[in-house]
Symmetry: C2
DNA sequence: TATTGTTATACTCTATAACTATA
DNA sequence: TATAGTTATAGAGTATAACAATA
């Protein structure tokens, strides 16, 4: 599929909801589904859920984090995080660490957790590069840029005009 | 956030996994979460789940569809669709219709379902336009184009080299 | 014999409210 | 009094396998 600059209006205002396939939430969902399909077997093979893997990645990327931060970054609600902490701690991938504010539940990767991450990251990178190569590195870069910008825009909207 | 053309390499190869926030699946998830946050209260207000709303939209866009097609388009597994059919049929929004192939469970919107869709579509369009205006119509157009193309690319990869 | 859905089952996540502990 | 998390609970989605019906 290829839409060139002038073969349709820039705004969708005269194309109500722009058709199911091209609607923004659906397009985001389906793009995610199609790419995750390639990562999923790899995550399954390590007996992790997708959400557990997001937590491990976030910790590997940023060091110890509290529940609130992980909840935002991983898009996981606090009650789910509580359970994920229990599961990952039982498996020895994370530990609870002391924090200045005793209300905060802060966790960090263990050595075992970091080893797991490093193994998985290597394969993830290979899968990502396969997609990037097929899609085009420049387009991928632009897509990531737009996605992050869209998120910032929507977040800003929600701050100034909370949804309903 | 603004990344210009030359302040980082085009390929992420030397930036393993490109950092949590900029990884493709996470960027897709968070962009979706940030935009869906604005649509969600509107869907809640009509006592639908997000998945039920996707089914209704797909039917409104394409006319009667069978379970397999809806499963693909809406990214919902068949067992969930079975339950969603029951729920939406009980609420009077859809009906089962006869199909040439009696194995296929095909459903269509009722008048009540179409009325619901039209009411909701009007508000959805308003919410979408608010985001589009804040983000920029041209960037939104480009983003949708890239998302659809990424999906096609990943689907093609999965056809030629099934994931694991 | 292959395909389409449904059922069964187990697990996980989503979502909200109520509660506990700390600040 | 406000904040951070946990617990409780209900509901829905995810995922796989087994089954029924149809082609």
């Amino acid at each position: 599929m290829r839409l060139d600059e002038d073969d349709r209006p820039a705004s969708g205002a005269d194309d109500p909801m722009r058709g199911y396939e091209a609607s923004l939430p659906i397009a985001l969902l389906r793009a995610r589904e199609a790419t995750m399909r390639r990562f999923k077997p790899h995550i399954d093979a390590h007996n992790l859920t997708v959400q557990q893997w997001r937590v491990i990645r976030a910790l590997a990327d940023s060091g110890p984090l509290d529940a609130r931060t992980l909840s935002e970054r991983c898009v996981i609600l606090p009650p789910s995080l509580t359970r994920i902490f229990r599961t990952l701690e039982a498996k020895g991938y994370i530990v609870t660490v002391a924090a200045p504010d005793a209300r905060r539940h802060t966790v960090a990767l263990t050595d075992k957790g970091r080893t797991l991450y490093e193994e998985m990251a290597a394969t993830s990178e290979r899968i990502y590069e396969e997609i990037e190569q097929a899609f085009g590195a420049e387009k991928m870069r632009r897509l990531l840029e737009l996605l992050i910008e869209l998120r910032d825009t929507a977040d800003a909207l929600s701050r100034e005009a909370p949804p309903e």
